[in-house]
């Protein structure tokens, strides 16, 4: 699946995460900003990568600003952002979740 534009989803409010996805050339690169990065950084990245891979994205740049989101929220925001970035919002693949 090809990233066509920049896709964003989520907010900067408590318990949420904002995900911004843009074109990348070198695998999935994640720039994560989180207050709990020491404890949960790896897990947050894992959820983002898994969701993107399931959607068929191999290369992307991801900026994530986490405000303490649960895994299900991270996956949902990632899915919405990648749908917007690949311009496939009209054909949602909800089974990815």
């Amino acid at each position: 699946m090809e990233i066509k534009t920049i896709g964003v989803a989520g907010t900067l409010e408590s318990s949420d995460i904002q995900i911004m996805i843009s074109k990348g050339t070198n695998g999935i690169q994640i720039d994560l900003d989180s207050e709990v990065i020491k404890a949960y950084g790896d897990q947050i990245k894992e959820v983002i990568i898994t969701t993107l891979k399931k959607y068929g994205v191999q290369n992307a740049k991801v900026k994530a600003t986490d405000k303490g989101a649960l895994d299900c929220v991270i996956a949902a925001r990632t899915l919405t952002a990648v749908q917007r970035a690949t311009e496939t919002s009209d054909q949602p693949k909800l089974e990815v979740l």
Binding site: V8, E13, S14, Q18, S22, K61, K67
Partner: protein, 351 residues
């Protein structure tokens, strides 16, 4: 739960309320130009209909952000406000934003994923989103073994490219292995950005070690340095020029191995004079700042301001003394278009 609503400042009553709220929160600068630059304003309203927060957008810059934390979780309203402003930008496909703020608020923004580009004693300048400054620098062409070469930079608006610009570039080209010429990207000048870029490129094409690139959002752009394009107070200019100089020092120079920056002396423009001072103060000794005297022809300094004046006066013969042949041809071909732009009111006396 607080609600986000649109505010329309062209309604005098709304504007008054908004202004009173900001005054209460400690924001006191309501310059006409600052207000006129605002594209949109949002507000937070609490359950009782009271104004508890506001923020505005000007181009891709967040402005006039203030929230009242009374009876709220600290930070919650601020986060909600900034989210709302960013979503307003996202809706317009703007995914990259800046904020100028007091130094003490820089951390609040960095908690929301903003990264700091520069700060002075009083002000901080941050960006968020994509493409960011690292993407910008990564896209700039580089040469082999650049970090062991003598690299210099010149930033110019070149409105239009004159013999003065040409001689400055030529001098830098002789004294260095590589010269970056950054052309101001903001499109507020008589000559459009595309035209200025083209004229600088064609006017320096014989100099093989010169690379002409866009200054993007990071060198004398409308976002970072609005005072370059508008008459402003001394304090404001100094803050903005300091920030511009620091962005160059913190990111552009080290990542491109730039060790020298060439400037022309500025006998006429107050703003450019301030800028030269800021650059000298902030960049040395990391970057060697060389201020070169303006070049003269028959005892007269060459300035693009004079060229624009002559275009207005329709005195093309006089222009040929001041500009390289490529710029001259362009002016001959586009005379009517340029004069029409002047008639439509584009400012030709500024920068």
């Amino acid at each position: 739960m607080d609600k986000v609503v649109d505010l329309y400042l062209n309604n005098p009553a709304t504007k008054k309320k908004w202004q009173n709220f900001l005054l209460k929160m400690g924001i006191t600068d309501f310059g006409l130009r600052e207000i006129a630059a605002i594209d949109h304003t949002l507000a937070l309203i609490d359950e009782n209909g009271q104004l508890v927060g506001t923020g505005s957008i000007a181009n891709n810059v967040l402005k006039y952000i203030a929230v009242c934390n009374q009876d709220a979780v600290p930070g919650a309203r601020f986060n909600q406000m900034v989210t709302a402003l960013q979503h307003y930008l996202f809706d317009q496909k703007i995914f990259h934003s800046f904020v100028f703020t007091k130094a003490k608020y820089a951390t609040s923004f960095s908690h929301l994923g903003f990264s700091e580009l520069a700060h002075t004693e009083h002000a901080a300048f941050l960006e968020s989103g994509t493409p960011d400054i690292n993407d910008f620098i990564a896209a700039i062409p580089k040469i082999e073994d650049q970090f062991n070469k003598q690299v210099a930079a010149i930033v110019m608006n070149a409105n239009p490219f004159t013999l003065g610009h040409r001689k400055l570039v030529q001098l830098a080209s002789q004294e260095n292995d590589l010269v970056y010429v950054f052309v101001v990207a903001t499109d507020l000048s008589l000559f459009k950005t595309k035209e200025r870029m083209q004229l600088v490129k064609s006017g320096t094409s014989d100099l093989k070690n010169v690379l002409v690139v866009s200054g993007g959002d990071y060198m004398v752009s409308q976002s970072t340095f609005p005072a370059y394009f508008l008459k402003s107070s001394a304090d404001l200019i100094t803050t903005q020029t300091d920030i511009d100089a620091l962005v160059f020092k913190n990111f552009i120079a080290p990542q491109l191995a730039i060790k020298r920056r060439y400037l022309g002396t500025e006998p006429f423009s107050r703003t450019t004079n301030f800028y030269n001072q800021s650059l000298t103060n902030k960049l040395s000794p990391l970057v060697d700042v060389r201020i070169v005297n303006r070049f003269q022809i028959n005892g007269k300094v060459i300035t693009a301001t004079r060229v624009r004046q002559l275009i207005k006066e329709d005195n093309l013969t006089a222009i040929s003394n001041f500009v390289p042949p490529q710029t001259m041809q362009f002016i001959y071909r586009q005379k009517e278009v340029l004069q029409a732009r002047i008639k439509e009111g584009i400012n030709i006396n500024g920068n």
